[in-house]
Symmetry: C2
Subunit: 248 residues, 2 copies
DNA sequence: CGCGGTATTGATGTAATTCAATCTCAGTGG
DNA sequence: CCACTGAGATTGAATTACATCAATACCGCG
């Protein structure tokens, strides 16, 4: 992926880049994410209480029961948000990519689990620090609002996928989602290659299917020439438009 | 359909007496909804540009393609939010009850259709008027944020229902949702009675099922004594806890 | 009363699940 | 370096839940 960095240098000069904490300088969250709402001073203040943490794939970040102790920005990797029925049936209700924000203001009773789908890197922000900043900076709340609205849109799109699409369309929709969201190694001229950040089991839980069905649909799509699969996780989409066709 | 302009003149007169426009005095939105963030003065100002309109069941409020011209508070009835695939498959992605807010700030490309599920009464607010108020009043944006977050929670709950529940559990979940959300004629001591605001076709589109399956599951639940059905639309739930059991 | 849209019920078909048997591949230790 | 291992993935056969197709019943309304 080639981010086009038009005018970025100028922007940095303008805000006295030297004042921006080193860690934040190249962080996506500062450009496209939450921290874009902060001036260098606020950023420095916030950076004093943040911590970059790494988690391996599969690690539980937030258990469904408990109140999350902190917020976080996803810096790299994919986080899956999960819900579980009493009898153990699992559903992945959302995926968060960099530079998405993790955690929610105004805590509710609504328990969401968060788990590292791939290896992830998070920029952890203590509750108090963030909430203080939100109180002082309306622009920050505005960013959070926009993120919430975007997530709402995505959730509703997914409702359509879950409610009305066939297994093959679901799998195609998932691949399309990853191809367009996760940082693809290459995604130009309709072609995309990427490594699946989720296991078949996770994909199944995301799509409301079984592992076996996911597997079968993947091989079907491979057979149809829509995708190529290497070593189970590496996917090549020769033509995204063809894949999109299959999304229903 | 003619917008009904109830009591506009009266509302203005009354400002001097009570400070709160008559129409707003008993409006749920003022207590539990959006307008709770406004002081009497702001409320009066807003009331000058609002209109109460009625729509019959089935009326299209917002087409999926077009930008909505206004926001609205749901005062009575149920509005269904819909999305449609190119080939015509429909999915209801959300239901809005009084005093929910309809429409979204920061318009996106994400097209949602809105349709009156039952007869509805809306308090329509022009874009400009609301956006002006939001700019002036951070508390209002905060309310909108909270509503967005609540909708997000609901959407994710529904994702679990669509992805992981059986047809019977889906129908039970729907009934439970209506029993607890729509103003029930009575809902005390575990008992609830209500009139279904949706046709079988709408329920099917909400649950990702067919009309026939919805019908069959309803008769199953009736047979099991979980619900009673009168004249197709009138439902009695003798014991909500029993219904909840069936939700999976 | 009869009409039309909506809902139920039944018979049959099918997509996805379930159960079970391999296969793949990354990791480990001989 | 290779064989062994075990978790994850694929493939196949049998089953099932839901869809589809089709006929009938219900209810509101003129």
């Amino acid at each position: 992926m080639l981010p086009v960095r038009i005018g970025l240098v100028i922007a940095r000069k303008d805000i006295h880049n030297s004042n921006v904490p080193v860690l934040c300088q190249s962080c996506e969250a500062r450009h496209r994410g939450l921290c874009g709402a902060l001036d260098p001073e606020q950023l420095s203040e916030l950076a004093r209480s943040t911590r970059v943490v790494r988690h391996e794939a599969g690690e539980q970040l937030v258990r469904e029961a408990d109140e999350p102790g902190a917020y976080a920005n996803v810096m790299a990797g994919v986080v899956k948000l999960t819900k579980t029925l009493e009898d153990g049936r699992r559903q992945v209700v959302g995926l968060q990519f960099a530079p998405d924000f993790l955690g929610r203001l105004y805590g509710t009773e609504n328990h969401l689990g968060a788990e590292a789908a791939s290896d992830v890197e998070l920029c952890r922000v203590p509750r108090a620090a963030l909430e203080k900043l939100v109180g002082e900076n309306p622009a920050l709340e505005n960013r959070l609002m926009r993120q919430a609205l975007r997530e709402l849109d995505e959730a509703r799109d997914w409702i359509v996928t879950l409610g009305r699409k066939s297994a093959e369309e679901k799998v195609a929709s998932f691949l399309y989602l990853i191809a367009t969201h996760a940082n693809p190694r290459a995604a130009q001229g309709g072609r995309a290659e990427f490594r699946l950040p989720l296991s078949r089991a996770d994909i199944a839980d995301f799509l409301g299917l079984t592992i076996e069905t996911v597997s079968r649909q993947l091989t079907r799509l491979k057979g149809a020439g829509v995708i190529e699969i290497d070593k189970l996780r590496d996917i090549v989409v020769p033509d995204l438009a063809v894949l999109e066709e299959r999304c229903g």
